[in-house]
């Protein structure tokens, strides 16, 4: 077992290193996210919408769209030079590859959020009147990113095997993310008004969702990355 996690860690480190060395993907994601956030808040200002109410929705729609860019490359880069086969040989277990890629995508998403969430906070001008529940907010961000990374990694493994099917990735991904979207928006909204007790059930649901979509791919990934 320690050997298993060691392999996961090694592949994870490799991917993360690659992510930060070829900085362009991460940079593009960050700029895209910042731009989305800017466009949303600006558009709401123009239409004179009560932006504070819209904050959780804007936040998560921005994260959902940007996550597509962030995750899209995680298997694509293994396609060149038959790196995927080498990776399969080296690890000997497809679950290891899934977990490593999943942790890498999760890390990238967290880095992304560290930059973009404060930006959105400022643009929208959130005023919480002291009732802001920062712990709940952090937990909901983490649970949301976890689910996104798990489903995204799984589906990216599916779509890279089909040539000329880039557009399929979001089409496959968004229907699966609906329960997550409902949960995280309600949780981050509750965090803003500081009513933690009202969303406790949702936290469990999100946790169950995340665990399910992390464990199911471990079984199904053998069929995804076949041959």
């Amino acid at each position: 077992m320690p050997n298993y996690w060691r392999k996961v860690f090694l592949v994870y480190r490799k991917d993360l290193r690659d992510e930060f060395r070829t900085f362009d993907n991460l940079l593009a994601t960050l700029v895209f996210g910042a731009m989305l956030v800017f466009i949303f808040s600006f558009a709401f200002q123009l239409a004179d919408v009560e932006t504070q109410q819209a904050f959780p929705a804007v936040l998560w729609v921005s994260i959902f769209f940007s996550s597509m860019l962030a995750i899209q490359r995680s298997f694509a880069k293994e396609k060149d030079n038959g790196a995927l086969d080498a990776l399969l040989l080296a690890t000997g277990d497809r679950g290891i590859i899934f977990l490593a890629k999943f942790f890498c995508n999760l890390t990238v998403l967290v880095v992304f959020e560290i930059v973009v969430v404060p930006l959105l906070w400022i643009f929208i001008g959130v005023n919480t009147l002291g009732s802001f529940d920062i712990l709940l907010f952090m937990v909901s961000l983490l649970l949301g990113s976890w689910g996104l990374a798990a489903i995204g990694t799984m589906l990216n493994g599916i779509t890279i095997q089909i040539p000329s099917a880039r557009l399929l990735f979001p089409i496959l991904m968004f229907p699966l993310l609906v329960p997550l979207l409902i949960g995280v928006i309600l949780c981050s909204h509750a965090a803003l008004i500081g009513s933690r007790a009202s969303v406790l059930g949702w936290m469990y649901l999100l946790l169950a969702f995340d665990l399910l979509f992390t464990l199911a791919p471990l079984i199904l990934f053998d069929y995804v990355l076949e041959g």
């Binding site: 089909i162 649901l205 199904l220």
Partner: protein, 223 residues
């Protein structure tokens, strides 16, 4: 033998479909407050039922396909997904026709409505993934997607249910809240639609089979 079964099914349906229409419009009473609009219920519920049934078939045959890799099983899954999409579209179209006069809105984010819409999106995604002239890879990947999206259905439903619900619950744990004649019409619709599904499914599976045979024959001619 299968030929006979399919055409027999067709003849049964030629009798049953008009009979079902008759039961719905002449036998079942007109609802007291909603009036004639309520008749859409029989089509709406039956289509939704077929949509779910078709999705279960996609799920089960996806698992079976990953296990035994038989072309036959994959054809069944794909055909079922296509037919399910059509019936789910029927549900999504008949719903608003009823909802506008009764709820005074075309659409609302009720758990069942939300789940049905998400189901429709997942069906379409499944069909897009499998594609027309599917390769071995696409079939395998579509099977994986068929399995995960099925797991997702209850999650969508319960999360939307926690959030809000106004959809009338006609069939519940405590029985069916319907007039006996209406109940008969509902079950007649369910039965007829199920047979229609079986007929369309066997037809579609056959066309897929023939398409593949044409491909093989054409390859032989070319070489």
């Amino acid at each position: 033998m299968r030929q006979v079964r399919t055409s027999l099914l067709l003849w049964v349906l030629v009798v049953l479909l008009p009979l079902n229409i008759y039961i719905i419009f002449n036998y079942a009473p007109v609802e007291k407050t909603m009036g004639v609009v309520q008749k859409v219920f029989y089509f709406h519920v039956a289509s939704a039922w077929i949509g779910l049934l078709a999705f279960v078939v996609v799920f089960l045959s996806s698992i079976l396909y990953l296990w035994n890799r038989e072309e036959r099983v994959n054809r069944l899954a794909f055909a079922s997904a296509e037919i399910g999409t059509i019936f789910i579209s029927g549900t999504l179209l008949t719903g608003p026709l009823w909802a506008y006069p009764i709820w005074n809105t075309w659409w609302t984010w009720d758990p069942r409505l939300t789940t049905t819409l998400v189901l429709w999106f997942m069906y379409v995604a499944y069909i897009a993934l499998q594609g027309g002239g599917a390769t071995e890879t696409r079939k395998r990947l579509a099977a994986v997607y068929g399995i995960i999206s099925f797991i997702n259905v209850p999650l969508v439903f319960f999360s939307a249910r926690w959030w809000r619900s106004i959809h009338p619950i006609v069939v519940s744990g405590e029985g069916i809240g319907l007039d006996p004649k209406m109940r008969l019409a509902m079950f007649a619709s369910l039965g007829t639609f199920s047979l229609l599904y079986a007929y369309l499914l066997s037809l579609r599976v056959k066309t897929l089979e023939l398409q593949e045979r044409i491909k093989v024959l054409r390859a032989e001619v070319d070489s």
